[in-house]
């Protein structure tokens, strides 16, 4: 999860405004949201309030599933797009999009000589630059950015720390180089590389990356009278005050007819994966990795094919619980409540999951509906899943559940806690030298409690899940 910052708060505020209109069934007023959020007499964040409003408009378009690049006529009001989205007329598979108007604010160069440069005699920057991109102009080093290849040598050798590195936060956060600048200098996400971890979404200080929302679809279904079932991911138990009974009750207040805990699916995943592990080790395989994090399985599919034979074939807790929910409530629409964007992508390929609601969207919905979780009843959970199943959301939790299912304490395991460039290298090395015979891989540090859409601080959420099991 991201450090709390204003870009994130603006997104949540935007969601709350939007959901209020959905509750009132008044999407025609959606054009007012940018005006309400940036009223005339307030100071602007960007150059002027008009720019601020335009950015908000395009962010809303992104949430509705439209890319600002698709806009043919700037005079088409947001309400037109909203109506189209509400009627189910957009079929966009783009889950993450870059809002052009908000982006392009990052410098296009990575290294710059600051005025701390003393123009020294040694000039190690100039001497060590492999491309001879540095010259001394007016007694100071100067990088020729047409030649510079961003190797960073000059920064390393400067005795005065006069050369600064200017990162591009989204590119730096992406573990698989899926985001880069196009000809216009605007970031573009390559969906053939993207693993939907949402790290760019959290990293962009301009909030320029927007996640498509299923809110309109959920409200359309609700309006049609079709019952809604919330499939509640284990990580949700650690959000807000950590009272799952209240969270479950709140879904009923929001208009869901049933709530089904995904932890039941996690029990199934643990059971099946334990069997699979036994079998594959008996068959002489070197090791097995977990498969419940969709960002990780997408990473393997798109970037680490050599690891594919070692990834568990067992489906995710979301899948098993959705199958079960379909069986129990065949006429209902299933909505998975999710900590991250990757689950949205996974759900697109799973016929048993109709829509996904992120933790953030859920929180904004509560606020829009005027519900304070502290002041509502707590529903008693009559047949709670085993405690280990709820801990799937915490790094190490899957392994623990497996240990219980295997009934063995000497499982030789290791964990990859967070996917980044270093851990990708480590994963690759396992093909030749596996460190363990079971590898649990979580894309987000700390597990799903650290997903890009969580609200509660992961440390607190972890504690709350652990306390909740008692």
């Amino acid at each position: 999860m991201a450090v709390t910052n204003n870009a994130m708060l603006i997104r949540r505020d935007l969601l709350t405004h939007f959901i209020k209109l959905l509750i009132e069934d008044n999407l025609a007023d959606v054009d007012r949201i940018p005006l309400e959020m940036r009223p005339k007499n307030e100071s602007s964040i960007r150059c002027c309030i008009y720019k601020d409003r335009a950015v908000l408009k395009y962010k809303l378009m992104g949430m509705l599933g439209f890319s600002s690049r698709d806009e043919v006529d700037e005079l088409i009001p947001l309400s037109d797009y909203a109506r189209k989205a509400f009627n189910g007329e957009v079929q966009s598979d783009k889950i993450l999009t870059v809002v052009d108007e908000a982006c392009s604010s990052c410098l296009k160069i990575n290294y710059m000589v600051s005025n701390m440069c003393r123009g020294c005699v040694g000039r190690p920057c100039m001497v060590n630059c492999p491309k001879e991109a540095i010259k001394i102009v007016d007694g100071k080093a100067k990088i020729d950015h047409n030649i510079c290849v961003n190797c960073g040598q000059c920064m390393k050798v400067c005795p005065f720390h006069a050369i600064v590195y200017i990162p591009i936060p989204c590119e730096e956060a992406c573990p698989v180089n899926a985001i880069s600048r196009d000809e216009d200098g605007v970031e573009y996400i390559d969906s053939s590389k993207c693993i939907y971890c949402g790290k760019c979404l959290s990293a962009c200080p301009f909030g320029a990356i927007v996640e498509k929302s299923h809110l309109v679809d959920i409200f359309r279904t609700k309006k049609s009278g079709k019952p809604l079932v919330a499939l509640v991911a284990p990580a949700l138990a650690g959000q807000f005050g950590g009272d799952l009974g209240r969270i479950i009750h709140s879904f009923k207040m929001l208009g869901f007819s049933q709530v089904y805990e995904v932890a039941y699916g996690a029990e199934e995943t643990a059971r099946l994966e334990a069997e699979e592990l036994k079998e594959s080790l008996n068959a002489g395989e070197k090791f097995l990795t977990s498969s419940c994090c969709p960002s990780y399985t997408m990473l393997v599919d798109k970037h680490l094919q050599e690891l594919k034979p070692f990834v568990s074939k067992t489906a995710t807790p979301m899948h098993y619980s959705a199958v079960k929910a379909r069986e129990l409530f065949p006429d209902a629409c299933t909505v998975f409540v999710s900590p991250c964007s990757a689950k949205k992508r996974e759900a697109m390929d799973d016929a048993n999951v109709d829509y996904v609601l992120s933790f953030e969207e859920y929180g904004a919905w509560l606020v829009a509906a005027g519900i304070d979780l502290n002041n509502i009843e707590s529903e008693t959970i009559s047949e709670p899943p085993i405690a280990e199943a709820r801990e799937f959301a915490i790094s190490g939790g899957v392994t623990n559940a497996l240990r219980v299912a295997l009934n063995s304490s000497n499982l030789n395991d290791t964990q990859v806690n967070g996917i980044d460039k270093t851990s990708i290298r480590l994963l690759k090395s396992f093909v030749k030298n596996p460190e363990a015979n079971y590898v649990e891989v979580m894309c987000c540090e700390g597990g799903c409690v650290g997903g890009c859409n969580v609200i509660t601080n992961p440390k607190v959420a972890t504690r709350q899940i652990k306390n909740g099991k008692k």
Binding site: T4, E360, T456
Partner: protein, 96 residues
């Protein structure tokens, strides 16, 4: 420090901090305030009476400022962060 002084400090009234745990405040950045207790600097420990509360009803009025809200010795603090609250606690302690 004499024994007498030691008793005296312990009798001192603690700074009362009420953090809003309401859903709106929690969503709008307040979730980090749950860490205030463990992030209190050593010299402030034992001097603060920290409580969480349901919605403090500040969020209904724009004039109250922006969430998340907290109350330090009766004073409303808007856009509360752990750092800001620690500062405000120090302000209160210095008043004495």
């Amino acid at each position: 420090m004499s024994k007498f002084n030691l008793y005296n400090t312990e009798m001192e009234k603690k700074v009362e901090v009420l953090v809003c745990y309401g859903t709106l405040c929690h969503l709008m950045g307040g979730s980090d305030l749950q860490l205030l207790g463990e992030l209190l600097p050593l010299d402030l420990q034992g001097k603060v009476d920290l409580k969480g509360a349901p919605c403090l009803n500040f969020c209904n009025e724009v004039d109250n400022g922006k969430p998340p809200f907290a109350v330090v010795n009766g004073r409303k603090i808007e856009q509360a962060t752990v750092k800001k609250l620690i500062q405000e606690i120090r302000v209160e302690l210095e008043k004495k």
